[in-house]
Amino acid sequence: MSENSSKDPVVHLDRNFWIVTAVLAILSIAGIVFWIVAPITKFLPAAVVEADEIDQLFRFLSASSTALFVFVIGYLLYFSIAFRRRSTDAPDAIGIQIHDNHKLEMWWTILPTIFVVVMAIFSVRIWYGIEVNNPGNGLSVESIGHQWNYTFRYPGVRGEITDAMHLPVGVPVTLQVTSTDVIHSFWVPAMRLKADMIPGTLNTIRFTPKYPGTYQIICTEFCGVNHSVMDKQKVVIESRPAFDAWYDGWVAKNKNASDELPKASAGAVALSGGDAAAGQKKFALTCSSCHAVGPFSQKIVGPGLKGVLHDPAHPSLVNGDPATPDNVAKLLQNGYSGSLGQMPNQTSNGLTNKDIANLVAYLDSLK
């Protein structure tokens, strides 16, 4: 109690205390040096640029924690031994009645605060580079979690790839993940990155592959009876030519005769008189298996369409045309096949011109 602390005895720190402090300081420095030089990648390769940064953060956290822990445990042990009750002590012997020490308490509040600030700055910088300011503008890939395997979708490759996820060295990647059933997670220890695969949403991680190799993908979110064995697939990081060869192989493999889309009926669809309510019914029947009535990010196969005609963040349709009612009608007529996927055309979808007008009216009504 500070009402007593003015009567506290004066504290004398004896020589042993300083010797112990010096020893702890040396041990801490040794610990810090250990973490600076520890060959992390000998145990776990760092496959992407971001992994190296995360390892740096880990070294910093480990080094500073080791120093802190050495001091806390060191003093804990030393005080326990130095101030143990001895058999020569009187039965009612008491300790030195110190209540507090404002200067000491101030320092051990300020110094940890400074440390937390430094740690925050370090972490935020690395976080910013990974989560916020990571362009990922080279290759867009998707991975979809299923019970109990991963599939991958690449631009220009029809359907899904079911073996490994190949990536070329040096090309920034945007990986978007989701799931068709329950929550899974996409973790590559060598990348030090993971993202949960949540049905109904699309989560994104961005990274730039750096070291060629084959790395395990492991599921870290309980997903059912075979969760333990959802760790058999790999990420393969390889040179550009090797990647291109693999990619071309899949394009050819998944090609399909019906990829030649039949040309749509001539002429634009007349949009006047479109019935939004009828359009809603048609949407539920025909479109909702691939499109949600939700924001763009609420992706099933294609993006959510609630804002397709009214969302300033997404002013273009998948084929690059500006999002206007006429262009939507044209897209529904002709379909789309390209690097962002496949959308069936009017014939494949079984839509009459009236259906298209109704759908456009419905989509226009969603604000």
């Binding site: 939004a276 939700g294 419905y362 969603l366």
Partner: protein, 205 residues
Amino acid sequence: MAVASIAQHDEHQGVDRLYAETRDLRLQGFLLFLVSDIVLFSSFIFAYLYLRNSGQGFPPPGIGRLDVAFAAYNSMVLFGSGCTMHYALENWKHGNFNKYAGCLIATIVLGLMFLGGQGYEYHSLIVNDHVTWSGSGIFGASFFTLTGMHGFHVFVGVCYLSILLLQSVHGVYTKQKFFGLTAGTLYWHFVDVIWVVLFSIFYLI
């Protein structure tokens, strides 16, 4: 046996002090209970706002707007019952048993009317608009769960107030000792406050 007046006398000092301190404890405890009940509602209100923000339009197309006018009328009934409850307690404190009883009965009746109104709205939604608790996506889920929880609290409140009425008729409470009535009034106001929030988030925004 009706007691047409409110007992004035109380026992000696020691018991008074005990009563005062016990009442203090009970008041604090009851208020904390209301706080935890607010947290329960808040978790569902959070869920509703979160789902509404992240998904389909509200109400989803095809369901149409909720009947704001009817709900506003029903709200007036509930807020009115809050006023009558306030006056009931005031009248008790001033020793007017008949006025107190009249106000309390009015509160109970208005509470029942509110529940009836809710029942009517539920019926209309389910039968006319085909909006159900489990079959209408997150709108049906949130609306029926939250208003249902609230309606259940109103129902419990009506039962509680009825018991208070019977107890006061049998002379359980005196002019100095009437914590049960205070608690009932606090609970009833709490139910009102929750409704203000629910009405705003379902009907106004």
